[in-house]
């Protein structure tokens, strides 16, 4: 057997992927050829070391939280879907992860909810004869509103994960239409502010976060974000945000920005202005 043939088969030989006959041939050759044996030993060593490399840990816990949040929202929506027929369809719509379907599902649910709500409001209540009905009705409406909000929240979170900047922008803007959004929405907005590759999306996120300015996590997150930004436009918008919500804890960050010669001149000037405002 030729050395070249053996070389070509070494990897398979070491991973026991050869037939017994081929294996035997290689073994015979290795016994008689020092060069190939050295080669095989080196190979085996590398093979062993490769095995000892720890596989990289999955991305941050944040990623996992977000994934769980999406799955939870998804399961919740399925669990609370009104009819079994809807259930399968909803699942199919959402697993496709397509914006088109998401929107279609959202608008369908919104329409159903609005339709039912209007129906209940329009029908004059027959005074007293069906005394139990109004309370049931309002309970249903409340439940339905809750479901609608959950659905909207889920779509918002999902949109913010999309590849297209236009969809992510849509997600950020949708977040403004949810009453009392959960902490997951706020966390997703902060994550977008930190990591979104698109300047316009990050800018829109700052505006969307204004509603939550009273939350500590938002204040801390935005201060952290100032340091990470490379876009002066976003940096300036964040400085304005600090001033707007009167975040005195940002003073250290603003001072550092105002003194850093590498920072854009307009940003430095804005930081100085911000420091004056925050006194």
């Amino acid at each position: 057997m030729q050395c070249e043939t053996v070389h070509a088969q070494l990897a398979d030989f070491l991973s026991h992927a050869l037939t017994d006959a081929e294996s035997e041939e290689v073994r015979l050759h290795l016994a008689g050829c020092r060069a190939c044996r050295n080669e095989a030993d080196g190979f085996a060593e590398t093979w062993r070391m490769l095995g000892s490399i720890a596989s990289p840990a999955p991305d941050s816990g944040r990623m996992r939280t977000r994934l769980t949040a999406i799955i939870d929202g998804f399961e919740h929506a399925i669990a609370s879907a009104p009819a079994p027929g809807h259930r399968g369809r909803l699942a199919a719509l959402f697993t496709q992860q397509s914006d088109h379907h998401l929107l279609r599902a959202a608008s369908a649910c919104a329409l159903v909810a609005i339709g039912i709500a209007i129906g209940y409001y329009m029908v004059p209540l027959p005074g007293g004869s069906e005394g139990t009905r109004p309370t049931e009705t309002s309970a249903e409406i409340v439940a339905m509103r809750g479901e609608l909000r959950d659905l909207r929240e889920m779509i918002t979170l999902s949109l913010m994960q999309q590849q297209s900047a236009s969809n992510r922008l849509k997600g950020v803007s949708w977040s403004g239409q949810i009453d009392r959004p959960s902490s997951e929405v706020v966390a997703a907005l902060l994550d977008t502010l930190m990591h979104d590759p698109n300047v316009n999306v990050r800018l829109a996120t700052i505006d969307a976060l204004e509603r939550f300015a009273s939350q500590d996590i938002v204040r801390r997150g935005t201060i952290q974000a100032v340091d990470r930004q490379v876009s002066p436009l976003v940096q300036i918008a964040l400085i304005d945000f600090m001033v707007k919500v009167h975040e005195r804890e940002s003073i250290g960050t603003l001072r550092r920005l105002s003194e850093d010669p590498k920072v854009n001149a307009a940003v430095r000037a804005r930081a100085v202005w911000g420091l004056q405002q925050l006194g």
Partner: protein
């Protein structure tokens, strides 16, 4: 890897066109160049070639599923990108070395020798209807002229030296330019455009319902023309400049966060102008820090 096309545009591999013309007047696209026709590079005999002569490389790349809208992603370090939507089903890319004003003047050739223009060099990959164009070298300047099907999603970015221009494309546009302008003509769909130091000029003729639009610049003018009937929530803002519009604008109050700290109470009213047109709709943001912001009604 399903249907991975890989075309490396290199000298002589593809149809090389040697057309003497000024850099900013690239030759018009021929209607349909034969894809992958191997022709010897045409050497144009000239006694004294000028430094600005083009040795443009042209390749045609099909989408794996032309029935679905494809997407095209281009990232350049130096150079300009001109994209035109057409009724073709594949993508035609022509890249020339372009003119880089920051480079030293080309030296005169030694006596008796003539200059051979080197190809610009770029690589196009197609995978599942997503096309990606990348450049091997950071330092070389590349001027690209690209023809795409009219409904192709575009993701274009350039750092230095050139304009990014898009014409007659209706899709999702995501465009960013660091030191050059962005010019969009007769585009539709959804647009997200940002230029750091250049202006952003856009004429949007059709918008996808519910699609947000966003045009921002740090130091340049933002000048956007929108269809008269557009339903939108507008957010216009220039920090150091002025805001102009001829839209019938229903001004609404923006968010005014109220902050209480002990007895202290602050309300901040920012410089953004918020408003709705035609009853309101998706968000449309025009924003510049140092430049003027102009929103025009389509005539």
């Amino acid at each position: 890897m399903r249907s991975m096309f890989r075309y490396v545009a290199a000298a002589g591999v593809c149809t090389a066109l040697a057309v003497p013309t000024a850099a900013n007047q690239l030759p018009p696209f021929p209607p349909e160049p034969p894809p992958f026709a191997l022709q010897p590079p045409a050497l144009v005999q000239q006694p004294r070639p000028q430094p600005q002569q083009q040795n443009a490389e042209r390749i045609t790349v099909p989408f794996s599923d032309p029935a679905r809208p494809g997407s095209m992603k281009v990232s350049l370090f130096r150079g300009s990108i001109v994209v035109k939507g057409t009724n073709r089903r594949d993508v035609s890319i022509q890249g020339g070395p372009g003119t880089d004003l920051s480079r030293r003047r080309a030296a005169d050739p030694p006596a008796g020798l003539r200059r051979l223009t080197q190809p610009a060099g770029f690589r196009v990959e197609e995978d599942a209807n997503e096309m990606t164009l990348s450049v091997g070298s950071f330092s070389r300047n590349l001027d690209l002229q690209i023809e795409v099907p009219a409904k192709t999603n575009l993701h274009l970015s350039s750092m230095n030296g050139g304009v990014i221009s898009v014409e007659d494309v209706e899709s999702e546009l995501e465009i960013s330019n660091l030191n050059g302008a962005i010019v969009l003509k007769n585009v539709g769909g959804s647009v997200v455009a940002h230029s750091m130091n250049g202006s952003v000029t856009a004429v949007v003729t059709r918008v996808t319902p519910q699609a947000p639009l966003s045009f921002t610049s740090m130091n340049g003018t933002v000048d956007v023309t929108l269809p008269t009937g557009i339903k939108a929530n507008l957010k216009l803002r220039s920090d150091q400049g002025d805001v102009f519009t001829d839209f019938d604008f229903q001004v609404i109050q923006g968010t005014r966060p109220e902050v209480r700290k002990g007895n202290r109470f602050t309300i901040d009213v920012n410089r953004s102008v918020y408003g709705t047109v035609n009853g309101g709709g998706p968000d449309v943001e025009l924003r510049s820090f140092n430049g003027t912001v102009i929103l025009r009604k389509a005539k």
